[in-house]
């Protein structure tokens, strides 16, 4: 079908909301290429160039000639809201199906059936979802006329941003007949990635490539080992920096903590993470409208977010790769003359990045545990059933299943709600790929460390070079470097802030699936036998008290008096009502005095009596060796009892050092209450970390 330039331009002007708008270099050529069905096309352009105009206008033109709808696969659906608005101005009816809008699915399905949707946007995960594929997609699969693969670099094993579900897209791309229109887009593709993409999408792949340089950016790296120093630096610089920006952290917890700190210093900031849920759109909009100074975000605020006047991007920790960093920092200064991109580097980031690298793939042991459990169950197993048979966390089991089922042929397949062994074995290639990717991650990490140590003025050249771009376009930074030290007074305040945080312990309401047979309990825990909401002083190994607790548990075998003081302070702020009138603790055969000794000192400081009323009757493996909640519940089942002495009938403070699945505290509270004790307020020194 022939492309009509006047129609394309008309749509662009409607979409851009400007009568004078003209196509950027390459946009119209791309639209023409797609509409006329000249073969597969890869567009490599930095974010903000306007890739969405290409596929929205192409979709509109195709639909006007009676072609079927477009399917767009993107990991960034949540971030496409403003693009979708532009599409709707052009009369492109867009709909999205993702895990956040389940209530709209049936409506979207109906509209798809009526052929009144022009472009359907889905995530790669949705595409892998059996129900979605068989129920929703099956209805329109025969009519799809254009497939758009966003963030196509993820198809490549060498893409910085390994997403297992792109394995599926890779295979689908390979099997697509050449007569289906296909557009792949990405902002970053170095030569290695390009080679992979050509292998997957075919030798006849046409490539339109723009340049990478962002001349408005002033890049800088600052090494500040402690979190308190970096918090102090942020608080100081944020008050001086003009405009609005993003502060990136590596973990959700860091995002929340940094946001809390900045708020406590009077800044108008919000945390934005994968756990933000329904507020994400609102927060994106708040930043777009300059209603917040900054969002403190994880990579959940990802590649597609487009705010042309973003004045700064600051990293609280070093990201894992040059491409990831370039994508994030490249969000600043798109339509500004100058903007800052500052990377703060700290001591904990290597541990975090290392954890991300190590946990990206299941281990051989994990895979063999899962496969063996399935082998023993010819009828297949659901994930909950696997949890009770395999001593692995839910996350690890799901990761193993995810990656195994994305292989082709897959050693396991889902029939109904259960996973079953299929007529294929896991190829050694799976492990080779895992090893190759892990090695690549380590190399990328090393490259970022090199970036951190660069002198001011040489950063952009390094990034462009690493991305196989053209370094000749690089010009010196326009802005002066920011200070590299933090104010010592602020650093002390930040350190105090880090120690002030505490974490809630939510009471369990129900016994685990299958109950706890030795205590002969199952189902709901009666309200009067439950624990009250509790508190943990810190997160295992965190920058506040975490280090102290770890040292006390494994090195000194003694929890310091500083921890006693910190707990007293926390309990006063917490102020549970009705207030506990005595203190007890969880017993241990392995370390019989560690926790009781601490609890006695804490009781003394609180001026409350300490009573040792709980007994450990059976020496079980440590709870931390139990990898999921069901295993931990079974492990504690029947191993606690009450000493043969009267139990005070008033409220009690129940102390333990660590809390993870909460089953120990749940069983202890249940025993106490069953025997006439008043409210049980659990308190732990530390909550187990995320690396479980």
């Amino acid at each position: 079908m022939k492309y009509q330039p006047d129609q394309g331009l008309k749509l662009l002007r409607i979409g851009a909301g400007s009568k004078k708008a003209v196509f950027r270099e390459g946009q119209e050529e791309a639209i023409e290429h797609i509409v006329e069905g000249r073969g597969r096309l890869l567009v490599v352009q930095k974010t903000g160039w306007g890739k969405s105009f290409v596929y929205f206008i192409a979709t509109k033109l195709l639909r006007e000639r009676g072609h079927g709808p477009t399917l767009l696969i993107s990991p960034l659906l949540a971030l496409m809201r403003n693009q979708i608005e532009a599409a709707e101005r052009m009369g492109v009816r867009a709909a999205t199906i993702n895990s956040d809008n389940q209530d709209e699915w049936s409506d979207v399905e109906t509209r798809l059936g009526r052929n009144v949707i022009d472009i359907l946007l889905i995530s790669p995960e949705r595409l892998a979802n059996e129900r979605f594929r068989t129920q929703v997609l099956a209805g329109i699969a025969a009519r799809i006329s254009l497939l758009v693969i966003d963030e196509a670099h993820c198809i490549s094993d060498w893409g910085h941003d390994f997403r297992p579900h792109y394995r599926l897209i890779e295979r689908i791309s390979r099997t697509l007949p050449s007569n289906l229109r296909l557009l792949a887009t990405t902002a970053t593709a170095n030569n290695r990635v390009m080679k992979d993409l050509t292998a997957v999408l075919g030798p006849k792949l046409e490539v339109f490539r723009g340049d990478l340089n962002r001349t408005s950016l002033t890049l800088q790296t600052i090494h500040l080992p402690g979190q308190a120093e970096r918090l102090a630096w942020l608080a100081e610089q944020l008050s001086k920096l003009e405009g609005h920006g993003i502060v990136y952290t590596l973990t959700v917890r860091d995002a929340n903590q940094v946001a809390d700190w900045l708020k406590s210093r009077g800044f108008n900031v919000e945390a934005y993470t994968g756990e933000t849920g329904g507020r994400r759109a609102e927060l994106e909009q708040a930043l777009l409208n300059n209603q917040v100074k900054a969002l403190v975000a994880t990579t959940a605020l990802g590649m597609g977010y487009d705010k042309p006047d973003l004045a700064f991007v600051i990293h609280y920790q070093t990201p894992g790769s040059v491409v990831a960093y370039y994508q994030q920092v490249g969000r600043a200064g798109r339509a500004l003359d100058t903007a800052y991109g500052v990377l703060l580097s700290g001591e904990e980031e290597s541990d975090i990045n290392d954890w991300f690298i190590r946990s990206a793939f299941p281990t051989r042991q994990e895979v063999s545990d899962v496969l063996r459990a399935l082998e023993a169950a010819p009828g297949g197993l659901s994930v909950p059933a696997l949890l009770s048979r395999v001593n692995l966390s839910k996350g690890r089991i799901e990761k193993a299943i995810d990656l195994l089922s994305l292989e082709s042929p897959a050693p396991i397949a889902k029939q109904g709600s259960k996973w079953q062994l299929a007529a294929a074995t896991l190829s050694e290639e799976f492990w080779e790929r895992a090893e190759r990717l892990t090695a690549l991650r380590r190399e990328e990490h090393r490259q970022m460390q090199e970036y951190v140590s660069l002198p001011f003025g040489s950063h952009m050249g390094f990034l462009i070079g690493a991305l196989d771009g053209d370094p000749r376009t690089v010009i010196p930074p326009a802005l002066a470097p920011l200070p590299t030290k933090a104010d010592p007074v602020l650093v002390r305040e930040a350190a105090a802030f880090l120690r002030r945080t505490s974490l809630p312990i939510t009471p369990r309401l129900q016994w685990p699936a299958g109950g706890i047979p030795q205590y002969q309990e199952k189902g709901k825990i009666p309200e009067h036998l439950r624990a009250q909401p509790g508190k943990a002083l810190c997160l295992w190994g965190d920058a506040g008290w975490g280090g102290h607790v770890r040292k006390g548990k494994y090195q000194d075998r003694y929890f310091s008096d500083d921890l006693v003081t910190a707990c007293v302070k926390m309990i006063h702020e917490w102020n549970p009502q009705p207030a506990p009138t005595w203190v007890t603790c969880v017993p241990s055969l392995r370390h019989p005095s560690l926790v009781p000794d601490f609890a006695k000192r804490l009781a003394a400081a609180l001026k409350l009596p300490f009573e040792m009323v709980l007994l450990k009757t059976d020496n079980r493996p440590e709870q931390k060796t139990m990898a999921n909640s069901i295993q931990q519940a079974r492990n504690i089942d029947g191993s606690l009892a009450l000493a043969d002495r009267p139990i005070p009938s008033s409220p009690v403070l129940l102390i333990d050092d660590m809390v993870d699945s909460r089953w120990t505290l749940t069983v202890a509270a249940w025993l106490l209450r069953l025997n006439g004790c008043g409210e049980v307020w659990p308190m732990a020194l530390s909550q187990a970390g995320h690396n479980k």
Partner: protein, 468 residues
């Protein structure tokens, strides 16, 4: 094994396969085997191959095919590219492969023997090399007693010892007994399924056998497709086509798939020597087959004796001999021109299907209707067979309509004869047309039966009317 799917195969799948990826929405207007045959022939004549239909400049070629297949229909079928990728993905993750006649991996016996009537695509699970191993086809009915089960298992065991593959239909009764006898003794087995390849290959008891290359499952129907009588019938021909010799363990007289398949071999196709089990008591079905020219099974007790049954060459039917002239001078390859593809697969067997038509048609016609009865009876008494009322009803409808339409009738007349609404009549008729069971005549619009493609001969031979 997971061969890369060729462009020819993709194109053939787009044209002929339902590509079931879940909820079956409105059934696509896919080409019937007969229609595809005509299209393949047309492409060959204009020196093209199916892959050309999905090349970027296919528009002209599709227009050139308009005399054979409507242009818009072709376009909408070929536009199912994304659905194709979804279907392939579903198959591949379940270790199901697909080959088309245009592929070198397509079973050579099948292509050489059935030529244009070979299914355009085959789906399978397990080591496809097994499909080249030939072996002994064992056929018989689903409802059998312990003696016949033991007999069939013994045949399977002996074949295993002789390292001869057992080829069978995977159905209950004789099929499964022979297969089990072979498999339990380390033998190799080809199971030619009429339905549910996906489900069957996921069964745990098959897993290790498929993985170890002992068992290969094969079907010409979509891996998700369920049971239909027509499929079960048409699959018989494929069992014979993959084997070197065949043994009919039991058969009804003039009804049932076993009978129809065996008669077709003896009278018409003569792909392999057909043996029948020797019985102490008279068996009308087997006796009739013997009379038609089947060979008595020598009841081999050892490997050498079994080998002897493979050494018989099936006689060429006199009627075939009369028609030595090939239909197409250059039809050595079915999907591509040799010049274009350089495919050097010269098939030595010439147009076996040129032989008798009408008498065989007559037989299969009868057997179709009778077989449906017997299949139905069997299903009703069967617990394992998956069955639902809609299938029962449809089978009855199928029988009545196919009887009725020996003579062409209009839609109104059919509706009147059945005393059902025209809407319902149309739905049924469309389904038969989609299945390739009926054809539509024009001016005035009437419907009449069309022989199922696998039983269909290329040309009419009136001389054979006399055999009736």
């Amino acid at each position: 094994m997971m061969p890369v799917i060729s462009s020819n195969t993709k194109s053939i799948l787009l044209l002929t396969a339902p590509l079931i990826v879940g909820r079956v929405s409105s059934s696509p207007d896919i080409l019937t085997p007969g229609e595809y045959k005509r299209l393949a022939r047309h492409l060959r004549e204009i020196h093209h191959e199916p892959a050309d239909l999905i090349s970027p400049d296919a528009a002209v070629l599709i227009r050139d095919c308009h005399p054979v297949i409507d242009e818009t229909r072709m376009q909408s079928l070929l536009g199912r590219g994304f659905q194709l990728s979804q279907a392939i993905e579903r198959w591949q993750t379940r270790a199901i492969w697909v080959v088309s006649r245009a592929d070198a991996d397509y079973p050579k016996r099948m292509k050489a023997r059935l030529r244009e009537d070979a299914p355009p695509v085959l789906y399978g699970c397990g080591d496809h090399h097994l499909l080249e191993s030939g072996g002994l086809a064992v056929v018989g009915s689903r409802q059998v007693d312990d003696t016949l089960v033991e007999f069939s298992m013994a045949v399977g065991r002996l074949a295993a010892r002789a390292r001869r593959t057992i080829v069978s239909g995977g159905a209950r009764g004789i099929d499964q007994a022979a297969m089990r006898g072979a498999l339990e003794n380390g033998g190799k087995v080809i199971g030619v399924l009429a339905d549910s390849l996906e489900r069957t290959s996921m069964k745990r008891e098959h897993r290790n056998l498929l993985l170890d290359g002992q068992l290969v499952l094969l079907t010409p129907y979509d891996p998700s497709a369920g049971f239909t009588v027509g499929h079960a019938m048409q699959r018989n021909k494929l069992i014979y086509a993959l084997a070197d010799a065949a043994l009919v363990v039991n058969s009804d007289l003039k009804k049932g798939g076993t009978w129809a398949g065996a008669v077709e071999q003896i009278d018409k196709l003569r792909l392999v020597p057909v043996y029948v089990r020797l019985t102490s008591k008279p068996s009308p079905g087997l006796d009739a087959l013997l009379k038609k020219g089947a060979l008595p099974w020598p009841s081999p007790k050892d490997v050498d004796a079994l080998e002897a049954v493979f050494e018989v060459i099936p006689q060429i039917a006199p009627s075939v001999a009369k028609h030595q002239e090939p239909l197409f001078p250059d039809n050595n390859v079915l999907e591509s021109t040799p010049a274009k593809h350089g495919m050097a697969e010269i098939e030595s067997v010439k147009d076996t299907a040129n032989g008798s038509t009408s008498p065989v048609l007559k037989v299969s016609e009868n057997s179709l209707s009778h077989d449906r009865n017997s299949e139905l009876d069997k299903e009703n008494t069967s617990e394992q067979q998956e069955f639902n009322p809609a299938n029962v009803l449809f089978s009855v409808v199928e029988e009545i309509i196919l009887q009725l339409l020996k003579k062409p009738m209009t839609e109104d007349d059919i509706a009147a004869a059945l005393n059902v609404s025209k809407v319902q009549t149309r739905i049924w008729l469309q389904r038969f047309i989609d299945d390739g069971r009926l054809k539509k005549l024009k001016k005035p619009v009437r419907y009449t039966i069309k022989q199922p493609d696998l039983f269909q001969s290329s040309i009419k031979n009136n001389a054979c009317e006399n055999d009736k």
